[in-house]
Amino acid sequence: MAVIRTEKICKVYNPDTIPVHALKDVSIQVEKGEFTSLVGPSGSGKTTLLNMLGALDMPSSGKSFIGDVEVTRLSDRERIRFRLHNIGFVFQHYNLIPVFTARENVSFIMMLQGVGQRELLERADELLESVGLGDRKDARPHELSGGQQQRVAVARALASKPRFILADEPTANLDTKAAMNLLDIMEKMNEEQEVTFIFSTHDQRVIKRARRVVTLVDGAVHSDETTAVDSAVKDNQ
């Protein structure tokens, strides 16, 4: 079964005044273990689609499924709870909780899920180790570099054991070294743990590493290509 599936979703802003068609009959399906990039020029609908996939926004028409649940039928409260247990988010600006340490940021999601104190701390430590921040777990976000903060964000996204992770321009604010490091970590998780990643990005460094690239133009799917990643690409970057 697909991890996520949309059926002809449309999103129209200002339908009663000057309608703006942000998405037009978008139907895509993402399988478990995919490493997918949503690409396209500014205003093509990438972020809008990402919001739909993340159950943050509701389409004007069409349906969206995560697993076998039709999220477009869920109430706001149900969607928040659904997101907590099924979707991980990585944001462009990291958006960690500034007053919490790296460890607390990662464990916070599990606390919301009701995971026991001991288990959540152990898992937070494991996740921080896995993103290479085992020695920085007591640092607060302002004490970390951008790349480190984004790695904490990835650990946080993984903390809830989600069905997939949505990453909105995750490398946009990172230098090449930090971006490559982050991509390595995500790719490793994808390959070893079959974590499904969906990126919205302009970044060629991400696009080149993606195994599937969905291109949006003017709110519609323009192309959907599956590529084999050449290991030489990674080495050359």
Binding site: I80, L84, I109
Partner: protein
């Protein structure tokens, strides 16, 4: 809960300066409102205190007919046995003060004036209201002496001085003629302007003899450890007097017109308090509004990753609760210190205002109340204002559009 509290606490101290300014504003609010209350209540307490000490007492026992017909015919028998029984009714009763009170004509060689005669036990009276300290000339009488002490205004009106003789003419119990000549042994300044112009003090036994009221009193004033216990002690005494011809009255029942006057006088003070509360509310709202608006994106992210809106709203409530609690506790502390200082070192009045106050028989100082309830009542009001303001960030979070929030 622990994590939410941690989130709220640390969020507060993320911007230390703003939090400290907000707490300072709340401290100022509590101090200002307590101070204002204290000034208003201070003067009222002084008036009530003088009225009760020199006139009615906080609690008074009378014959049930006396209020409507304040005559010596409605006096009652008082002896040590009754006194002992009364004191046994409540641990908070400290003493019983017998008085006999009647209206008589007073005359010197040329003038006649109406006056109020108080027959008192001097030592007990002094213990209750510091009567001896009010003496401005001469001395106070001995317990069974045929001497009187006049209030200063009354002696001025009659043109009498110490060692002069005053004639008192009136009616004793059951129509008996009551008249006699008495030596003016002293002149005192009565703290109540009205009473200062018409009061005559004499020994209780002398008054009884003059008025043919052997063993009788017209009222018993009940002394207590604190006037705050008036109603509770009144209830106990009321139970004891049930079925007798005596009844107990509180000062508010004895002089309801004073209570009404004080309440009317408080209207302006209440208005000022409401204005202060509105200023406090807007000031606090301004801070909370800023705090909320600059964190809209953060709230959006928290909801995006799965934090329930109610949980987030509760966290914000906790923030306001903590800041409110810190502010009012510190405010009460500062207010207590400030009032304690002014309680020990009252603000002295000067100029015409001081002269007016002195003429009224009061000390030329701004009396401040140190009543404990004004501290917690004002603290609770300010705290409730803060909690009310917490509705705003909670409402914003409940209604937040996460997509718009993430774009801020």
């Amino acid at each position: 809960m622990k994590t939410l509290f941690k989130l709220a606490w640390r969020s507060l101290w993320r911007n230390k300066r703003r939090t400290l300014i907000t707490i300072s504003a709340l401290i100022f609010a509590v101090v200002a409102s307590v101070f204002m209350q204290s000034i208003n209540r201070g003067s009222h307490e002084m008036i009530v205190d003088n009225m009760t000490r020199f006139q009615t007492g906080y609690l008074q026992i009378q014959d049930y007919r006396f209020e409507n017909e304040p005559s010596l015919d409605n006096s009652f028998y008082f002896d040590p046995e009754l006194e002992e029984k009364l004191i046994q009714q409540d641990d908070r009763i400290t003493f019983v003060l017998p008085r006999i009170e009647t209206f008589m004509l007073a005359a010197d060689e040329q003038t006649t004036r109406g006056g109020v005669v108080f027959g008192v036990e001097l030592e007990r009276e002094h213990q209750f209201n510091g009567l001896k300290d009010r003496l401005v000339d001469g001395r106070f009488f001995d317990d069974s002496e045929r001497g009187v002490v006049l209030s200063q205004g009354f002696s001025d009106r009659l043109g009498l001085n110490v060692s002069d003789t005053i004639a008192l003419i009136g009616q004793g119990r059951f129509g008996m003629s009551a008249s006699g000549l008495f030596e003016v042994v002293g002149i005192m300044e009565h703290p109540l302007p009205d009473m200062n112009s018409r009061t005559i003090y004499m020994p209780l036994e002398t008054a009884r003899e003059l008025l043919s009221a052997d063993g009788k009193v017209t009222s018993l004033l009940i002394g207590m450890d604190s006037d705050r216990h008036t109603d509770a002690v009144a209830a106990n005494i009321g139970d004891f007097l049930e079925g007798s011809e005596l009844r107990v009255l509180t000062w508010t029942e004895l002089i309801p017109e004073l209570l009404e006057l004080l309440e009317f006088d408080l209207v302006g003070a209440y208005l000022m308090s409401y204005i202060l509360y509105i200023v406090i509310a807007f000031g606090f709202f301004g801070t909370i509004l800023t705090m909320t608006l600059e964190r809209i994106k953060e709230f959006g992210i928290l909801i995006s990753v799965g934090m329930a809106r109610l949980k987030l709203a509760f966290t914000l409530f906790l923030e306001v609760f903590i800041i409110g609690l810190l502010g009012v506790i510190a405010g009460v502390g500062f207010a207590w210190l400030l009032l304690y200082y002014f309680y020990l070192n009252p603000i002295e009045l000067t100029g015409e205002l001081a002269e007016t106050v002195i003429e009224m028989g009061w000390a030329p100082v701004l009396p401040m109340s140190f009543a404990p309830d004004q501290f917690y009542s004002q603290a609770i009001i300010v705290f409730l204002i803060a909690i009310f303001i917490a509705i705003y960030p909670m409402y914003r979070v409940i209604r937040l559009d996460v997509i718009s929030a993430s774009r801020t």
